[in-house]
């Protein structure tokens, strides 16, 4: 970035956020996409969400965050990966390359929307891996990662363990099966985990989708790419956005997290003083 500037939303600016839901066509499927439109966006944020199992637990905070940004003049786009949530497609046939392509296609669509505005990629959990992958390929003006795992397998493994724990809850002694037996089964046939049909390919591929080597130390991507990067582990968050089970808080007060990250965004993205 050439310089660091802050932007502020003037009270006189009519932001008038509108949430426009639609289907975005990708090969073999339609992505459920919600654009949080503002009348004169200062920047755009592509929100790249959590993995299937965590979608429903992170959904409310994710929507609240999009609304928070839109109310401050930032256009947001959130979506469901193909094969998940409101999007069409068969989950069983998908893997990380499909979802990486979802990100690429949405970025290309945003580029075509115009006028050109700074673009932030914001990934949550698995989404942080996909965002960082796109970012290191040159996409976006800044990268924000919430709760990024070291690899996609770090996301899949706890979900698998939860499935096994539930199965074993009322089994005793040798009736209980271990991880190895489940993985052997997964090698032979799809395995249902928290309502999704996992393929053996998904499991295998999960070891290969990793944070870029440099990203394990915060700020390293920034020096490599000369664009700002922020990693927020969310471990200090009063209620994690990705948690894998029903939690005590449904709609936690995340105003501190939101304000802190919005401030970072405003400093990370240079907004032209003479907006077009």
């Amino acid at each position: 970035m050439a310089s660091q500037r802050y932007w502020q939303v003037s009270a006189t600016v009519d932001i008038n956020p509108v949430e426009q839901a639609g289907y975005f066509e990708v090969p073999g499927a339609h992505l459920y996409t919600v654009v949080h439109q503002v009348s004169a966006p200062l920047a755009r944020v592509l929100l790249i969400g959590a993995f299937a199992s965590e979608r429903h637990t992170s959904y409310l905070p994710w929507v609240r965050w999009a609304r928070y940004l839109a109310a401050r003049g930032t256009e947001c786009i959130r979506f469901d990966y193909r094969g998940m949530g409101e999007s069409t497609g068969s989950f069983e046939e998908m893997s990380f390359s499909s979802w990486a392509e979802d990100v690429e296609l949405l970025v290309a669509w945003l580029d075509r929307r115009g006028p050109r505005q700074p673009l932030l990629l914001h990934g949550l959990e698995l989404g942080a891996l996909l965002a960082s992958q796109a970012f290191t390929a040159g996409v976006g003006d800044a990268l924000l990662m919430w709760a990024p795992p070291q690899s996609a397998n770090e996301v899949l493994r706890p979900a698998l363990l939860r499935r096994i724990a539930v199965d074993n809850m009322f089994r005793y002694g040798n009736e209980r099966k271990g991880v190895a037996e489940y993985l052997a089964q997964l090698d032979r046939e799809p395995l249902e985990v928290e309502g999704y049909q996992w393929s053996s390919r998904l499991w295998r591929d999960s070891f290969h989708l990793e944070l870029p080597a440099g990203a394990k130390v915060a700020g390293t991507i920034a020096s490599d790419c000369k664009r700002p990067v922020r990693t927020v582990p969310l471990d200090k968050c009063p209620e994690p956005l990705v948690k894998g089970s029903i939690s005590v808080l449904v709609d936690p007060d995340l105003s501190g997290l939101f304000a802190d990250n919005f401030q970072w965004i405003t400093t990370a993205l240079v907004i032209s003083a003479e907006r077009q």
């Binding site: 949430e19 426009q20 839901a21 639609g22 289907y23 975005f24 066509e25 339609h30 996409t33 919600v34 654009v35 299937a52 979608r55 429903h56 959904y59 409310l60 929507v63 998940m84 949530g85 409101e86 069409t88 989950f91 724990a165 539930v166 074993n168 809850m169 009322f170 089994r171 005793y172 002694g173 209980r176 249902e192 928290e194 309502g195 999704y196 029903i246 939690s247 005590v248 808080l249 449904v250 709609d251 936690p252 007060d253």
Partner: protein
């Protein structure tokens, strides 16, 4: 971006100043909908309208393919719909147990029935959603039937003792604990036998009254219960109680799904819900000149 694709359409349902966002799953013959009953899914707890494991998407697709226009809505504050929610799960469950969402469900049923020229609506809810469905059904003439997936009839404890929480976690991880768990459940069962048919102190009596209103009015209701290896044992049998008090006009069918988990998002649960609801829809809301009516003769709904 488009708002509709071949099988689905994104919709909003205005209710006062609130706009509920949702998805409409089209049938193959949309132009001929006036004689049909629609199917409306409401949120389960705090989950968005796709539900756990996207099971509601799967069922709505299936029921639409079966000839019943299906709708999934996010209630106020949930999913994509705007609105306020309480901060904690306990507060949200108290709202649900008090019927907070019922007016929205009943008005949505009316709005969708009129907009899509349907003959009425069946409301499907899971867990807390089932509670909202029952309350709404009792206050709306547009709701012609209710499907309740794993409903509950008690009010939640304010605080679960920490020691119980720790024991629950320990039991899942320890082989010896499993044997102790067996003993615990047997003792609990003895307690239920000793208490007899008296409703537990934490029963949601308002819900029971609304349930009985629906049942005694002869509104078709289908209850599907997930029965894992130990579920339903050692607990008060609300279904037996409700069947005994429902009266002669009751059209409540109750099924227990062996091997399904509470969410019904697993393979067993998903398939069973689809199977039994399709059977029940076809028997309770037959369509004229429908080839699927052939199934009605085969149906044997089990009133347990």
């Amino acid at each position: 971006m488009v708002e509709a694709i071949q099988s689905r359409e994104l919709i909003t349902v205005p209710i006062g100043e609130v706009r509920l966002r949702g998805t409409y799953h089209r049938t193959h013959a949309d132009s001929d909908s006036s004689a049909r009953t629609g199917v409306l899914f409401v949120n389960s707890g705090y989950a968005p309208r796709a539900a756990f494991g996207d099971s509601a998407v799967y069922w709505a697709d299936a029921f639409a393919n079966f000839g019943f226009p299906s709708f999934r809505l996010d209630l106020p504050g949930l999913g994509d719909s705007e609105g306020e929610l309480p901060e904690t799960w306990l507060e949200l469950s108290q709202l649900i147990n008090d019927g907070h969402f019922a007016p929205y469900v009943s008005k949505a049923a009316k709005g969708l029935t009129e907009r899509f020229r349907l003959s009425g609506m069946v409301v499907i809810g899971h867990c807390g959603g089932a509670i909202s469905a029952v309350y709404a059904g009792a206050e709306s003439k547009y709701i012609k039937g209710v499907v309740a997936l794993d409903p509950y009839f008690f009010r939640n404890e304010e605080v679960r003792p920490a020691i119980r929480q720790e024991i629950s976690v320990w039991v899942t991880r320890n082989k010896v604990a499993g044997q102790l768990g067996k003993v615990y459940r047997r003792l609990k069962k003895v307690g239920v036998i000793v208490r007899g048919a008296k409703l537990p102190a934490n029963t949601n009596l308002t819900l029971i009254r609304n349930w009985n209103r629906l049942a005694s009015a002869g509104i078709p209701m289908l209850v599907l219960n997930a029965r894992g290896p130990s579920q339903s044992r050692g607990q008060f049998d609300y279904f037996r109680y409700l069947q005994q008090t429902a009266g002669g006009r009751s059209r409540v069918a109750i099924r227990f799904i062996d091997g399904a988990h509470h969410s019904f998002a697993d393979n067993v649960g998903k398939a069973a819900v689809r199977h039994f609801v399709e059977q029940w829809l076809n028997a309770s809301f037959p369509r004229l000149e429908s080839k699927e009516n052939a199934f009605a003769e085969e149906l044997t709904v089990n009133h347990e």
